[in-house]
Amino acid sequence: MTEFRRAEECMGTFFVFHGRTALATVELDELLDAACAKLHEADSIFSLYKPESPLSKLSRGETSVAQCPPVVDHVWNLCEDWEKVTGGYFSAFTPQNTFDPSGLVKTWAAQAAIEVLLSAGLTDFTLNAGGDIWLSDGITDDRDWKIGISKPVSIASTEAGVITVVNLKDTDYRALATSGIAERGSHIWNPQTKSPVENELVQVSVVAKDLVTADVWATAAFAEGPRAIDRIAKVPGVEILAIFADGRIDGSEGFAELLRKSAV
């Protein structure tokens, strides 16, 4: 078995694939190229930082969803569905009524990249999608089952560190996503009030079976604030850990149970 690590710059962040495989280096490199191509393809369509992307044109009113690649319609529908599931707290429709699916596209594209590797038979790998973590079912290194959760400060800060560690081994969770202000400031807005989120939370982490579910709920919970803890506690298969601005920590009972298991 060969250990591999590949860091790919895309969507303004890094995607880090790490794992073990029996594949030859040449084959593995081609496979990772194909996986990363999925990320770049999504970026080229959905980036609002690229003036010529279909989404940028859509935002400027120069095209319609029907004229965009079909995947735009698909993602639009996904965003609408998630908006309903989260009680309106995840929304890809900005206060200015533009369609901005950035909150979903990163992990949605990451999932597509993961599928490339899974369909080629890889079973023992992890993906760090800019801070959102996904684990495959067949991880053989116990370290890789464990995920450190950053303190609510930037990883480049002198105070950077880990607030806790969760071990997803022997659980149904395969993804952990985190939303907060540590890296990019206040970039999440509340779809209900149509204004930037200002609440007592500085960071929320959500575990779920898949990356998109974890990511969407983390974003929705951060937008909603402390009341999201009770909301998410009722959602099967999804658990939350919330950090408050004053240092308090709270979460769902399921996340408490995960921490209890992680501590032994």
Binding site: S59, K151, I155, I249, D250
Partner: protein
């Protein structure tokens, strides 16, 4: 509530959503965090409950007790830590090791008012105490490429 069927959602009719070109600049500003934040993060409070307690822990007398059955490497050892004062109360942990592995972390003392609020600081500390930096990935809010490159020089990036 359906949460795991993201790839099998049924087709839903589109609502009327206008896409306004003139507001794209505002949308981008919101996206990149151009709006100021005034949240008063208290790193000390957080450091206190993540194991970095040397500077801020409050110790009430000499409370360390150790009971041992058998030898340290093969038997069961339990140690009770100092009470740790944090913003919402005092917590104290008892850690039990069997054959060198932590097998239990018990809450000995907690005077925080709310049961759940008392449990979480204890649990996040217990999990980091028993794992340290022994993890494969570092999760957190989405970092930028610049931040990632800066962090590559620090110890934490070597873990992620």
């Amino acid at each position: 509530m359906q949460t795991n069927n993201v790839y099998t959602f049924q087709e839903t009719p589109k609502r009327e959503r206008k896409v306004l070109g003139s507001t794209i600049a505002l949308g981008l500003a919101a996206l990149v965090g151009g709006i100021g934040i005034d949240l008063a993060i208290n790193p000390n409070a957080i450091a206190t409950i993540t194991g970095n307690t040397a500077a801020t822990a409050t110790t009430t007398g000499t409370t360390k007790t150790t009971s041992t059955t058998g030898t340290a490497s093969t038997g069961t050892v339990s140690a009770t830590g100092d009470p740790i004062g944090y913003q919402y109360g005092t917590i104290q942990l008892k850690v039990t090791k069997t054959n060198g592995k932590i097998t239990a972390v018990d809450l000995i003392q907690s005077d925080a008012t709310n049961g759940r609020e008392a449990a979480f600081p204890t649990l996040v500390q217990a999990a980091i105490s028993s794992n340290g930096s022994n993890f494969g990935n570092l999760g957190g809010a989405t970092f930028t490429t610049d931040t990632f490159k800066q962090a590559l020089d620090s110890a934490i990036s070597k873990l992620g």
